[in-house]
Structures are given as C-alpha cells and as structure tokens.
C-alpha cells in the first residue's frame, strides 16, 4: 500500500474551503482490508485519521487537524451492476467520481462489471439511464457525495444523494465492517441496533426533512441505518463501497427566461410552482449576477459560450423540462405566467441538443466562477486575507419571500455589495457577498450570522448543502441546541469510541 510523509503545501492538507491543515502521513489503501488495518493501527497508536478523496468540499471536511490522512483515491471505479424493485443500481468504490459514473452510464460500459442480479447487464444495455444527482462539482467522489449527502440543482425534482443510496459498506474505527442495505436496519424506540453492542440513539432534534438541510446527522423516529451514515461527514465510519440507483433517462430541453427585475422573477417562480408544470430544477440569477457575467464577458467574450445577455434583462430563471409532447402544454402555461411578470417566451433562450444544454450549464456555473475570479483579484490587490463569503441557507418555500426581504435589509444595513443566485425551487439561494476590503469581511461575518439565525427562525437551515465540516460547527448548536450537539457526540462515542475519525467535523469534543 502506498504511504508517504506529507509535506507542507501538499494538496492533502487543504480542500476547496482553502483552509490549510496539518498531518504527518498519507496512507492510500487499495482495498477494504487495508482500510481496516490502518484504522486498527491508528486506534492502537492514538493517531487521528482524516478521510480524503477528491477534496472538493467547501467546509474543510477533508482538511486534517493533525494525525494522518486516509487518501481513498486508489479505491476507485465501478464494481458491478444490478437491478431490484427500485431500478438499476451501480456498485461503486468510494473514490469513483460523478463524472466517471456519468461517463460509464453514457458509454454503457457495463459488460466489464460484475452482474449482481441475473440479466442486469443485458437489460441495462437496452435501457437509457442516468444518475440524477448533480452536485455541480462533477469531479467530486461518490463516497464524498454520500458522506455529505450532496445535492444540487436537480435536488428540486430528484432529492439529494440520500434518495439514491441503496446500500453502503462502512468500516468503523474499531475495525468492524457494516454492510447496510436500505430497509435492513430501522430504528426502534429511537435506537438503531447495528449488532455486536453497537446501538446508536437517534438524536431527538427536528432534522427539518421538509427543507434542504445538511446540518447534522439525520434524525427521524424510523431512521434507516443507511441514512445515519449518509451526510455524517465521515465522523462515524469510512465508506468502502456503495450501491447507487440510476433513474430512467428522458430527453430534456433547457430554458433560460429573462425578466425585467428581481421581483418579477420571484413572482414567476412562485406561480410556476403552483402550476402543473414540473421542471427538473429552478435556478435563479439576480440582476447583480447577470451584471457580473456581463462584466466578465468584456474581457473574455467567450466566457460563457453564449450570446450577449439581453440588455433589458434584470434577472433570469433557468429550468429544464422533459422534452416530449407535454413540453408545449407546459410552454403555454409558462408563457402566460411570464407575461404577468413582464417576461415572455420571446425573451428567452432554449436548447435541446446536448451540446447546447451543456452551454446552459456553463452559463449557470459562470456566476460562481465570476465571483471566484472577482475575489481572487481583490485578494491580490487589497489584502491576502480576503476570502469568498457566500451563504448556503434554505427556508421553506412559503418563507422565501420573507427571507429575500431579510437578505436585502440585512445586507443594506451592513452596506455590503452582493449577488444572489441558485436553487430558488428549493428555497435555497446563494447570497455571495462581494468583499472589497478586510473591513467588509468583519461586517459580512456579522451579517452572515444574523442571516443564518433568521433562516433558522423561519424553519430553514443555515447549511442546506455545503455541510458543516470544520467551518460551521457553531450552526449545530445554533440549530439543535447544546442537547443536539451532545446527541451527535453520543452517536460518535458509540461508533468511533476513540474519536479517531474526521475529528473537528460537525462536532467538537
């Protein structure tokens, strides 16, 4: 098994949060028994282990705070394919990326895989399929996606990663291996009995299942053992294998509709949600986001690969629709709603060829990219300590209007420039504060805390998809109180009694 000493500057000491950690050794196991060996040794020697794969998280979940790093990259690729009552599933090793999984499915490269149920390969070859989770960063690993219950725009229709996990294999720090299939182990009297004395009490807090939420481990009276581990940020076990379901593929048509101002977009989205039209997702760009793209296009006209944004556009809504006979009925409805809010089917873009649809997604991703570039420029010019400040809060849909007002009022109060974009269909918008100086950073932090509080008071989550990691631990107590934090720690005490795994994530001892 490859192992080596980690030197400062190693990519294994950081992730997309740009935090920097410290660790001594990097171990790269090639199979589950090597994972067991490393964990047993670490416990024996009192060493901490941080699990690391593609390091695409933005909250420092893979950044080590001492001890050693368990790099999962060698445990990659797909193992098998099968089918059960819920559909086709692919058995993957933890470091397989979403991109790799998507490529495997589109190329139908199933014949080299183990056939886990009879006839699965032949049937899958004939069935158009896709993996419905789009965590935006497609170079993220499936193991990482499961550990963080990754979501993204498509969560609007398909739910987060959790909904697509059939089975997981987990190694506990004690060396015990759990092979859990959904439905096998369900909590009874608020206790999940995993056998051999591993009985976990399900936290009593309200996990707010009705909204997008990545704060804390999941809790519900009939909690499935699989769901205990999905989104647990690696603090209770290491994923060594997983089965993820695929969905039947259908052709889609991508659309971007432009509106005169921000308020007209909200109105459009609200009415659309009340109609019979079910888009695959609903993404929003405010006027500031569109201006940011316009600015980026001055220096690089190819920046989005799209034509110029119409001059009169003050906001936009991006959505996909199933591209079948039903789409024209949907367009009728959409056209009528749009006209009510100053838009029209003329003020739009649409594309159905796959390369066009990719352009639409590039356009969507150009907003965070522009922000990233802006911050990098300011950082270089003004202060190296300046960093990106974006919110990740969700609220119930009927509270979104109120939350929008709060965003505006609060950011105005602290005199901060910002842009808003993101998953409006899930009540989950990203507010990116455009920091100009270190002075802004302090005010932004205060504003951020107030906004998180407000989101929680409205029944929402302070961390809807990015998770807690090492950056947002305070939200656990803000949302679930001291009791909630203690309940998560109690679960960790049972499954990782030596507190070996991913120390610093979610809860601090």
């Amino acid at each position: 098994m490859p192992a080596r000493k980690l030197e400062s500057g190693s990519p294994y000491l950081s992730d997309e949060s740009k935090m920097t950690g410290r660790a001594d050794m990097l171990y790269m196991p090639e199979n589950e028994s090597e994972v067991i060996g490393i964990l047993k040794d670490s416990v024996k020697n009192g060493r901490k282990i941080t699990v690391s794969s593609m390091r695409t998280g933005v909250c420092g979940g893979a950044v080590p705070e001492g001890g050693d790093v368990l790099g999962m990259e060698m445990m990659n690729g797909a193992v098998g394919i099968g089918k059960d009552d819920c559909g086709f599933f692919i058995r993957v090793r933890p470091a397989m990326t979403v991109n790799e999984l998507n490529a495997l499915i589109s190329k139908k490269a199933f014949s080299d895989l183990d056939e886990l149920t009879p006839g699965a390969v032949e049937e899958a070859m004939k069935t158009p399929l896709f993996y419905p989770v789009d965590p935006t960063e497609l170079n993220s690993s499936i193991g990482g996606n499961i550990s963080t219950n990754a979501s993204g725009p498509r969560t609007f229709k398909y739910g987060p990663t959790r909904n697509w996990v059939r089975r997981i294999r987990i190694v506990l720090s004690t060396g015990k291996v759990l092979d859990l299939k959904r439905g096998d182990v369900i909590a009874k009297d608020n206790v999940l009995d995993l056998g051999e004395g591993y009985a976990v009490r399900v936290p009593s807090y309200d996990f707010r299942l009705g909204i997008k939420n990545a704060t804390g481990i999941m809790a519900s009276p009939d909690l499935d053992a699989v769901d205990l581990f999905v989104g647990s940020e690696g603090i209770i076990g290491v994923i060594t294998e997983a089965d993820v379901y695929l969905a039947p593929w259908h052709p889609l048509i991508s659309n971007i509709m432009f509106f005169p101002d921000d308020v007209s977009s909200y109105g459009f989205v609200e009415d659309l949600r009340d109609s019979d039209v079910v888009p695959e997702f609903l993404e929003y760009f405010d006027g500031g986001s569109l201006n940011l793209i316009r600015e980026s296009r001055i220096s690089d006209p190819k920046f989005t690969g799209m034509p110029d944004i119409p001059e009169k556009a003050g906001s936009a809504v991006f959505f996909d629709l199933p591209y079948d006979g039903s789409v024209y009925g949907s367009y009728d409805v959409i056209g009528k709603i749009a006209e009510k809010y100053g838009g029209s089917l003329d003020d739009s873009w649409c594309g159905h060829e796959q390369n066009d649809r990719q352009r639409f997604f590039a356009f969507r991703h150009s907003v965070p990219q522009s922000i990233f570039d802006h911050v990098a420029k300011i950082k270089q010019k003004n202060d190296v300590n300046i960093h990106k400040m974006g919110t990740d809060m969700s609220v119930p849909l009927d509270k979104l209007d109120r939350m929008m007002e709060i965003y505006r009022e609060t950011l105005k109060k602290y005199d901060l420039r910002y842009v808003i974009f993101g998953h409006i269909g899930n009540g989950h918008l990203h507010v990116e504060i455009m920091i100009k100086s270190m002075d802004d950073v302090d005010r932004a932090k205060t504003a951020y805390r107030e906004l998180a509080r407000a989101a929680m008071d409205l029944g929402g989550s302070p961390s809807a998809e990015h998770g807690i990691g090492k950056l947002k631990n305070e939200y656990i107590t803000m949302m679930y109180g001291e009791k909630g934090a203690e309940e998560i720690k109690a679960a960790k005490d049972v499954l990782d009694p030596t507190w070996t795994l991913n120390v610093g994530n979610m809860v601090i001892r």
Partner: protein, 254 residues
C-alpha cells in the same frame, strides 16, 4: 432572395473517444447540427430581409430531423430531409449529386447556396466544390463573412495569409469556414414556431434519381484499405502515487 442551406447532422466529435484498437467509440455520443452549418445559418440570418426565403436541406436518416429542427429555430422557413436507404454510403460526389437534384427539382430559382466548408465528422471539404460544379455556379470557399449590397453580395474569404473581399453575384455557392464562437441560441417562441413547421421528406424516387446515381453505388470513392498511421509515439505510464516525483518525471520528458 432565396437562400438554400445544405446541412448535415454529425456526431459531436468533441465527445468521441478512441478505444484501445484505435476505433471510434460512438456509443452515447450525441448527434448535433454540424458546427460549420450553424455558421452558415448565422450568416444567412444576418443577411436575410423580409420576404426572403431560407430553405434548409439535409441528407440522412430520420433522426436528422432534429438537426433540421435546429435550422428552423435559427430562421429557416422550410426544411427538407432527403432520406432513402439507397442514399446510405454516399461519398462526396454522390452527396453533391443528390443535393444537385434536390435543388434543380425543388428550388431552381435560388440566389445563394450555403454549405459548411466541411463536416466535422468527415473533413473532406469536397461537397461544396462538387455541388458548385454541378450547378455551374461560382464558388466562394473560406467564407467568414457576407454582406448584402442590394442585388449582389460581398464575401470576405480568409485564406490565412490573405483576406479577400469579393463580389458574389447570384446564383453562387458560399462555403463557410468560420463563425461566431458564441453560437446563436433560439428563444422558446422560435422553438415552438419551428416545431409547428413541417419537415418534408423526399426519397430517391421523389428526386428522380437512379439506383446507380446515389449512395454507395453512385460513389466514385473506393476505399481499398484504411489504417491509422503509426506516428511513432511511445507511451510511458508514470506511477502517480507520489505526485511530485511523477511531475518531475513529466518535466524530464518535456
């Protein structure tokens, strides 16, 4: 004015990978309207005036209708699909001949014919020249821009070492090699209007072509053998478990 745009549906070549035997992996590769054809439609969109007619024509199987739909979205008024099992295996000559018959039969009163310089999946770049010869009209290769000057057009041709502006008198054939990289995006309204238009399908009999004039039988290109040239490259697999050592080795090779 009447403009004909001859288009082709091609596999998205940016997504094609090559397997261990050097063969193209086509499974899962989506089909698109050839990018050069899009450049044509974009130019036509800019020069057309009220009352002008734009006719898109493609030769291919039924699924090529999707590419013609994109032409209609980009402003074509009529679309024709030339489809017949006998057209299969056509080389550039048989293709040009089929297009020639289509134009002669359906729209002989055209002013300009637009072709993409070459198809992204074949790169032969012969159809425009052959079609111009059959139609007995002047051809303008390497076109990157065209402006309307009333009864004639000014065409900008890019020969790489020379840029030429020429007068194109109708009827002429324009072969387009460049366009806006930020390709045109239609609106939902344009898509709906396009979807309502009929794509007319014509077969060999409709065009009055004999069995030996089309497809493989009507082709002059006879391929004896085909192989991927050995360019003498060597492949070294570098162990990436220590990225800095791997990087050093890569630098050494450079």
């Amino acid at each position: 004015m009447k403009f004909i745009v001859a288009v082709k549906q091609v596999p998205d070549t940016t997504k094609i990978e090559i397997d261990a035997n050097g063969s193209l992996i086509r499974t899962g590769v989506p089909s698109i309207l050839d990018p050069y054809c899009e450049y044509c439609l974009d130019l036509v969109r800019r020069i057309r005036k009220d009352g002008d007619t734009v006719i898109a024509v493609a030769m291919g199987p039924d699924q090529a209708k999707e590419a013609l739909l994109r032409c209609l979205e980009m402003g074509a008024d009529e679309a024709y699909l030339l489809s017949d099992r006998a057209f299969a295996g056509a080389d550039t000559y048989a293709t040009a001949r089929t297009l020639h018959m289509f134009i002669t039969k359906v729209c002989p009163d055209y002013d300009l014919i637009f072709c993409g310089e070459q198809a992204a999946d074949g790169n032969t770049a012969q159809v425009p020249g052959e079609l111009a010869r059959m139609m007995c009209v002047q051809q303008f290769y390497y076109t990157k821009d065209i402006v309307s000057k009333g009864d004639h057009f000014e065409v900008t041709q890019d020969y790489r070492d020379e840029e030429r502006v020429c007068v194109a008198q109708p009827p002429s054939l324009i072969s387009v090699s460049e366009g806006d990289i930020n390709r045109y995006v239609p609106s939902i309204s344009q898509h709906i209007k396009a979807k309502d238009k009929e794509i007319r399908v014509l077969n060999r009999i409709d065009l009055g072509l004999g069995m030996y004039s089309v497809g493989l039988k009507g082709s002059r290109t006879k391929i004896v053998s085909s192989r991927t040239p050995d360019v003498g490259s060597e492949c070294e697999t570098i162990d990436g478990s220590d990225p800095s050592k791997a990087a050093d080795r890569i630098m050494e090779v450079f």
